[in-house]
């Protein structure tokens, strides 16, 4: 009785394994046909792009995905596979990149979650002869075709210059910093500090880690106001923290405090709209690089030489240009 059950179970396990293996093989095969094709390609052929995104769940990256889908459509010979979301998990991103290599995509785009863990997978892709575009965050290898990214130091500096302009007679600035362990946070801070050094009358009277989060911005601003700190301007490392802090200041009747953020997302709940609604004085566009990535991919497909490092500028967004910038980057209706 028990032995027959065991035999049955063993047979079932074997059958399942065979089924799974077949399914896997079939899956790989179909994708390979779709992607590879083999041999050298001419400019007229279809080029398949695989994109491994660090984390879809950040509004900035969601925007980047949409923009990439939109701009790739400008080049009829480019075909973007469904974007792979690593969900902030290095191991998952490595396996996604390896899957793209297995599928023999023609061009690989990677937005690394963290530099070091993703580097070996990028090197594998490179060794397999696949051109790699690194988007937004760096990797610890030179084996890629092009790096496209914003310049957080420059953005911090621009924000600092705006503060120098806003407070010519000096004043008190409070800084809401992003997660302290992250690179953009450091650079947005350093650039800012360098710029406000121009005017010794400008003092950073408060600084706290807001972890990029809107409710933290509200809570910390409330604590600063409770401390009785005299604040003229709040510099937040992203728009949600600035908006959260502004809400707290408004509630306390401190309407004269100015707010500066970074991101400038063209979504209804984003920083550009907040500037238009006068909740923030300035925000700085952190470029997604999607437009440049699509163009770079097209250049690679056409066999042209591409820049190894493409550093993107920012756009200072004030009430004057907010509407135009919003219209340019608004992806609603442009992609499905």
């Amino acid at each position: 009785m028990s032995s027959s059950t065991r035999t049955l179970r063993r047979a079932l396990t074997a059958a399942t394994a065979v089924l799974a293996a077949t399914a896997l093989a079939a899956g790989c095969a179909s994708k390979t046909e779709e992607g590879g094709g083999g041999g050298e390609k001419g400019a007229g052929d279809e080029f398949v792009i695989g994109y491994s995104q660090a984390n879809n769940a950040e509004p900035y990256r969601a925007q980047l995905n949409k923009q990439l889908e939109h701009y790739v459509k400008d080049y009829p010979n480019l075909k973007l596979l469904p974007i792979a979301d690593a969900q902030q998990d290095n191991a998952q991103q490595v396996s996604q990149i390896q899957q793209f290599v297995q599928q023999k995509v023609d061009i690989l785009i990677v937005s690394p979650n963290e530099p070091a863990p993703v580097t070996p997978a990028v090197e594998q892709a490179c060794a397999a002869g696949i051109p790699v575009i690194i988007l937004d965050r760096t990797v610890d290898t030179d084996c890629y075709t092009s790096f496209i990214g914003g310049d957080n130091f420059e953005i911090g500096k621009k924000a600092g210059e705006a503060v120098v302009k806003e407070l010519p007679d000096g004043g008190n600035v409070a800084e809401l910093r992003g997660l302290l362990s992250t690179e953009p946070q450091k650079q947005r801070h350093d650039g800012f500090m360098e710029a406000i050094g121009e005017n010794p009358g400008i003092k950073v009277v408060e600084e706290r880690e807001g972890k990029w989060l809107q409710p933290e911005g509200t809570k910390i601003m409330q604590q600063w106001l409770a401390r009785g700190t005299d604040i003229d301007l709040v510099y937040a490392h992203n728009d949600p923290m600035a908006i959260g802090a502004q809400q707290a200041a408004k509630a306390a009747g401190k309407d004269e405090i100015k707010f500066i953020g970074i991101d400038g997302l063209a979504i209804p709940d984003g920083g550009i709209r907040a500037v238009q609604q006068e909740r923030m004085a300035y925000t700085y566009l952190y470029p997604t690089g999607a437009e440049e990535a699509a163009k770079t991919a097209a250049d690679i497909a056409a066999g042209e030489k591409v820049e190894k490092k493409q550093t993107l500028g920012t756009v200072e967004i004030t009430e004057a240009n907010a509407e135009d910038v919003y219209a340019k980057y608004d992806m609603s209706g442009k992609v499905d």
Partner: protein, 409 residues
């Protein structure tokens, strides 16, 4: 509905208040330091369960005085934690029934996004949004309960899976974009429904003006207090409440004494989900926006509040008052450190250390241990001093609790 009979099952030997009394007063022997200590100990004992909170409030008052101890600051501090406090009440119910609910943060996030979409895209009134979100949360909670009670999936796994499912649906529904709750109508002014939605927790919006004082009360604070009162009464005054303790204390004994264990487990998960659904709109109003990542790691804060408040992860032990105190400890500690502009890196270290200290100081057997230590120092005395009275429950929880048994070491 009032408690007239002893527990239907030997629920781990705990009364519904779930707390052990502190060491009783010592006998009238001894002189000098020891007798003074003996006189002080019982006084301390009645406050001991709150000692962590008292400590933090004392630090706040000493370092910041009126800046800390004023209505605006305390309202802000409790308001910032209110959603997590509400989650903590739900988690307490589940923990009492010897389960765990890791999904509450994600469920709150889903409800927050649902609420924002309802007000921003469908112009729904707030009186409809709140019950709808509670229903949504309860639905997820029901699924947690069914998975745990019927499919016999461990609640850790079931709710971990639900945490992922709800977050995925939240992100899908929002397309990974945050949704603002400040909605301007065609005339450029806020729509009526958006205006009233802010009452749920946007800073500077109070409710019940003129009824609860001239300025009214900040809704997140009111909501948290209401939830605590309702669920405290549910646990301490109803048969269902006693059944939760019984199931958590000893499910087999509970079943044998005729309690529908399956129903109780499904009910606590459903209630926990419902509370997470209730917290959602408050979160969306507080941030004037629903973030697809809202509520991320909130389940840990909620569980921490319950456990700091004396709930045992083994089940059957804990109170809503304890959880309330635990939530206050967490948020006031954050507030005191913030008001003192303590370095962010040190804040992490200090928060962790003070939480450990608070839990140790609140331990019901702490005073007894100290007393035994003193006795030992005096030498020659028996470890259990003469004339010791049985422990009495003197600390949070319904005062009608029966004397609990000797604290296990």
């Amino acid at each position: 509905m009032t408690k007239t009979q002893p527990d239907p099952a030997p629920a781990g030997g705990e009364g519904p208040d779930g707390t052990h009394g502190p060491g009783g007063p010592g006998g009238p022997d001894g002189t000098g330091a020891v007798s003074r200590a003996r006189r002080i100990l019982p006084v301390l004992g009645s406050l001991q369960a709150y000692i962590g909170l008292i400590l933090i409030v004392a630090i706040g008052v000493i370092t910041k005085g009126d800046v800390f101890l004023n209505q605006t600051n305390l309202t802000n501090a409790v308001g910032a934690f209110a959603t997590r406090g509400i989650l903590a009440v739900g988690v307490t119910l589940v923990i009492l029934a010897a389960g765990i609910d890791l999904s509450v943060g994600s469920l709150m996030g889903f409800a927050s996004m649902s609420a924002a979409i309802m007000v921003a895209h469908h112009d729904m009134p707030v009186w409809l949004i709140v019950p709808a979100c509670m229903l949504i949360g309860a639905g997820f909670g029901l699924a947690n309960g069914i998975g745990t009670a019927w499919l016999k999936i461990q609640s850790f796994v079931m709710t971990l899976a639900m945490m992922s499912i709800a977050r995925g649906l939240d992100r899908k529904m929002s397309d990974n974009e945050s949704v603002g709750t400040l909605v301007a109508g065609p005339d450029g002014e806020l729509t009526e429904n958006s205006e009233s939605f802010q009452k749920l927790g946007t800073p500077d919006n109070n409710v019940l003006e003129g009824i609860l004082g001239p300025d009214g009360i900040y809704f997140p604070v009111l909501a948290f207090l209401m939830v605590c009162v309702v669920f405290h009464l549910l646990l301490s005054r109803t048969t269902f409440g006693r059944h939760i303790y019984a199931v958590g204390g000893n499910p087999t004994a509970a079943r044998l004494s005729g309690i529908n264990v399956t129903f109780v487990i499904i009910a606590v998960f459903t209630l926990s989900g419902m509370l997470a659904g209730f917290a959602g709109p408050i979160d969306a109003a507080y941030s004037v926006s629903a973030d697809p990542q809202a509520g991320y790691t909130y389940e840990l804060d909620a569980i921490a509040a319950a456990v700091i408040g004396g709930a045992s992860l083994a089940g059957g032990k804990g109170t809503i008052i304890g959880t309330f105190v635990g939530a206050l400890i967490l948020t006031l500690l954050d507030n005191v450190l913030g008001l003192n502009a303590v370095d962010d890196n040190w804040q992490l270290v200090i928060k962790g250390s003070i939480v450990v200290l608070a839990v140790v100081l609140q331990r019901p057997d702490l005073l007894q241990s100290i007393k035994n230590g003193i006795d030992r120092l005096r030498g020659g005395r028996s470890r259990t001093g003469p004339g010791r009275t049985p422990d009495k429950a003197q600390v949070p929880g319904p005062a009608s609790a029966p004397a609990s048994k000797e604290t296990p070491r």
